[in-house]
């Protein structure tokens, strides 16, 4: 029971994903799911931790997304119990939704894929897609997060007895560097998508500060002073 979006920024080539799940700590499966200059992938429904590196390794070798999915299928006796998206660095994308999965939906377009299982209704992938494609010039992280919120607003997850909460969520993106640009996680929360938004809003303004602090440590502002200054600025903006 998860919903997920893979996305590529057409302006910058930046790659990322956002996911929400009924399972705890879904973000632990994001390890190796995005590789700059190569692609992004994520397996939901029933996680298969080996898929990430295998899929991106195959992309890096030069295989097309369709061939990558075929390889994953023949590599995994339980492929029909999984839902897998693969997106390459040029925006080609495919999703496999195993026929053993329940209440599924998937949508793809150039540079993105929205998919899920255990969903309240089939319009959730549409809602995520519409939000993701609405403002293509916006920051990729923000677009991914907004798509996740749209999925939640359209009904989110559902079990046998009605709506189920997303208890964990994650947002990851990589650009040119050998490490992620953003990697945020909510591992256990009654409303993980809303908590991910709170976390994102608090974190995003600090990322450049921490990079700069390492580059120019002399006379760098302390984290406490920075947090206080940020709080005052944000108070002013909302006042």
């Amino acid at each position: 029971m998860d919903y997920c979006i893979l996305g590529r920024c057409t302006r910058t080539g930046r790659l990322g994903l956002a996911v929400a799940s009924y399972s705890l700590a879904i973000g632990r499966y994001c390890d190796g799911s995005v590789r700059p200059g190569t692609g992004a992938t994520f397996t939901v429904g029933n996680a298969h931790p080996r898929n990430n590196r295998l899929a991106l390794g195959l992309l890096a070798q030069g295989f097309a997304v369709q061939a990558v999915l075929e390889s994953l299928a023949s590599n995994d006796p339980h492929h029909e119990w999984r839902q897998v998206g693969v997106l390459d660095r040029e925006g080609a994308v495919q999703v496999h939704t195993g026929h053993r999965m329940h209440a599924t939906a998937q949508r793809t377009g150039e540079g993105w894929a929205a998919y899920g299982n255990g969903l309240a209704n089939t319009s959730i992938a549409n809602a995520m897609a519409a939000t993701f494609t609405e403002q293509p010039s916006d920051d990729l992280d923000l677009r991914l997060l907004a798509a996740l919120e749209a999925g939640r607003a359209a009904g989110g997850l559902s079990g046998r007895d009605g709506r189920l909460p997303a208890r964990s969520a994650a947002l990851v993106s990589w650009h040119l560097r050998d490490f992620n640009e953003i990697d945020l996680r909510v591992d256990l929360h009654p409303d993980a998508v809303a908590e991910l938004r709170r976390l994102y809003d608090d974190t995003k303004p600090t990322l450049a500060y921490y990079d700069e602090r390492g580059r120019s440590p002399h006379n760098a502002e302390s984290p406490i002073a920075f947090a206080e200054r940020l709080r005052r600025q944000q108070g002013k903006e909302t006042a």
Binding site: D31, R185, L188, L199, P217, I224
Partner: protein, 228 residues
Amino acid sequence: MTFSIIARCPRTGRFGMGSSTFSIACGRRNESVRSNVGISKSQAFYLRQVDVLALNLLAQGHTPAHILRTLEGRDPDFAYRQFGIIDRDANVVAHTGRSTKPWSGHIVGPGYATYGNVLAGPQTLAGIEAGFLREPEAPLEERLMQALEGGREAGGQASEGKRWPERSAWVRVVDRLDHPEVDLRVDLHEEAVGALRQLMTEFRRYEAYYRQRERDPASAIAEEDFTP
């Protein structure tokens, strides 16, 4: 302001790290732990690229001691950095630059190192070490969790007589596979170490179910039917 412990489990060879800090989402720094290579975790005035470089050098066969000298020779701001490096043979080094904010320091023991800055004092590191050594037979993630709790109990982070909260916390353990065995995070919470303990306790009730479901989803029950 951060305290961390890096370790190699002497029984299993697994690598693990525990970290907690005032800053948000310390666990985003997941480039610092690499399966079958080792750990290089920097903090204070850190450059993320340095952990990647150190792990690349480890993977090429250099020792942690050599890597420390290499980093020192290339970094005009080395005095502002704090880091620890551990390799597959359990060789460990730690560095605490003199320009890191007080109290700062490190302890290096057999197969582990703990270090921090803007701490209440050396007692924070002593608390981490005591927590880590309390149950040597326990799984590495549990030992790392007890280490973080020991650091918090011993005073955690403080400056000018004021205690600072742990707002994020993280435990990550890797084994032979590419993906982590254990990777649990609290990214923003007023008492992140306590919240991480809660998460770990809850997660353990699901852990065997999740592993089984990954390997054999055909015979797994639906998660909503799973009663931990």
